[in-house]
Symmetry: C2
Subunit: 295 residues, 2 copies
């Protein structure tokens, strides 16, 4: 099974929800179209899938999970728009489509990113949200903010900018990825559990540990695909990380070394699920499919 087939149902739900919310919360047509471009043009929906699957496993509130899944995807989408800007990675292609600042212009892309971030917090703070207690909902807002800010994703992006063109150690590379992409993937687990029943909260660290290993493995896999993958399937030029002078796991460990490291992270991820008294088969399947993907 491909990752796109596995997440198809979640993708449809989340995309329909976000399309509706974008229309409801925008008053400027160009800005709305740029936001839509950033968030609705494809993507695997890894974070929403992880969040909604964990919420389901934890017998969580469905409406809360869908809203939270939309919110976390909005944060991810905003970060991609801003990362692609000329002043950042200067990418013209993302998921086989022109990036936001190419399809629109730079100013609109900056604003679209800003607005997608805001919308994430707007949606997640609308009360009531399903049957959740307000305290629980505040924890979700806070977890999303912590993961995406200056001690999370944005810090990771800053570290990445500062490291570009430099030789970094494996430790430094992991530090960067844990923030740049790992923090938000971990937050998907945190928030998924927060949608769940009271009993589930006890297992939050286990779900988070699963997500941490999965997130890092996902990144290692990305580095491998950047070298052995092909442009058409990836939606971006193969070898683009090397061209951009970014450090990668393949560069540090070689293709074979990176593949070994990926396997060990995959095992650790599965091990994190071992003690959880809920049925986690869907997460095992997800990590299998995600980490064996070819694009």
């Amino acid at each position: 099974m491909s990752i796109n087939a596995l997440t198809a149902d979640v993708r449809e739900q989340v995309d329909a929800f976000l399309k509706q919310q974008l229309a409801r919360h925008s008053i400027n047509e160009t800005l709305r179209r740029a936001m839509e471009h950033g968030v609705l043009l494809g993507g695997k929906r890894v974070r929403p899938y992880l969040l909604m699957t964990i919420a389901e496993i934890c017998r969580g509130d469905k409406q809360a999970a869908l809203t939270a899944a939309g919110a976390i995807e909005l944060i991810h989408a905003y970060s991609l728009i801003h990362d692609d800007l000329p002043a950042m990675d200067n990418d013209e292609l993302r998921r086989g489509q022109p990036t936001c600042h190419i399809a629109f212009d730079e100013a609109t892309a900056i604003l679209a990113g800003d607005s997608l971030q805001t919308l994430a917090f707007e949606l997640l703070s609308e009360w009531p949200l399903g049957g959740l207690k307000a305290e629980r909902q505040l924890s979700m807002v806070n977890a999303l903010a912590r993961a995406s800010g200056s001690a999370g994703m944005c810090a990771g992006q800053a570290i990445d900018l500062q490291a570009t063109g430099q030789q970094v150690s494996e430790h430094e590379l992991e530090h960067m990825h844990r923030h740049k992409t790992g923090a938000l993937i971990e937050a998907a687990a945190t928030i998924g559990v927060l949608c769940g029943e009271e009993e589930a909260l006890k297992w939050q660290p286990h779900f988070e540990e699963f997500a941490t290993h999965l997130g890092l493995a996902f990144q290692v896999q990305d580095d491998i695909l950047d070298v052995i993958g092909n442009t058409e399937l990836l939606g971006k030029p193969q070898g683009s990380d090397t061209a951009a002078d970014k450090s990668t796991y393949v560069q540090l460990l070689g293709v074979e070394g990176a593949q070994k490291y990926l396997s060990s992270l995959h095992e650790k991820a599965l091990l994190s699920l071992a003690d959880i008294p809920y049925n986690t088969a869907k997460l095992e399947q997800f990590s299998d499919v995600l980490l064996k993907r070819d694009h």
Copy 2:
């Protein structure tokens, strides 16, 4: 009394609070310094002052008011950093200092703005917050998001971008300002009341109306000062709006017409306070000082 003297106490409290929070929530030194540059290098602190004064009038929770004042200033600061970017207004000077992308670089300025926005929501969602109920706190988060997103401040900025170089009507100019700056000033009133006692909620629309008129008057005053003010006091070149090909109230109404309009907005603002059964003298003084400032 000058506006800076009036808001000095609030400015000190908010700046000390934000400096502490920036240190607590950052892990990357360059990013933290860029964020500090954006938020701690001066400014009149109009939004925090309005929020904290209304909270005080409504017998509000002091700690909640300080946190919310910090959060709203973070949103304002992020918007200024992004507005100043080369792709937007391309300003090199703000409050007499180099703008963030000049002092650092463009990529860091984009990230600093992104992180300041996130930090606003992070601080405001930390629970417990003073003695506030979680529901009340969620309303504050939501009000801040609504005011700053794609139906508020960001929409205003998009409208402004699209209007640059075009002749707009007075109605269109007001529509733009109501979103670009008005929404956040109004949110300062909304959130100030939300810090207050239950009884105060009833008067929320009155406080908001005051803020709406005040916000627009503040903008008209800005346009007048851009023509008759002087560069040293303004911290930016006098006439910079005209140079940037932006529509202004002075352009539409003439200096005298704009001054008349300013007076009528000032009167409407004061009238909005008339029925409120709390002592609003501090707000009357604030609008007096703010709208009679010379920079």
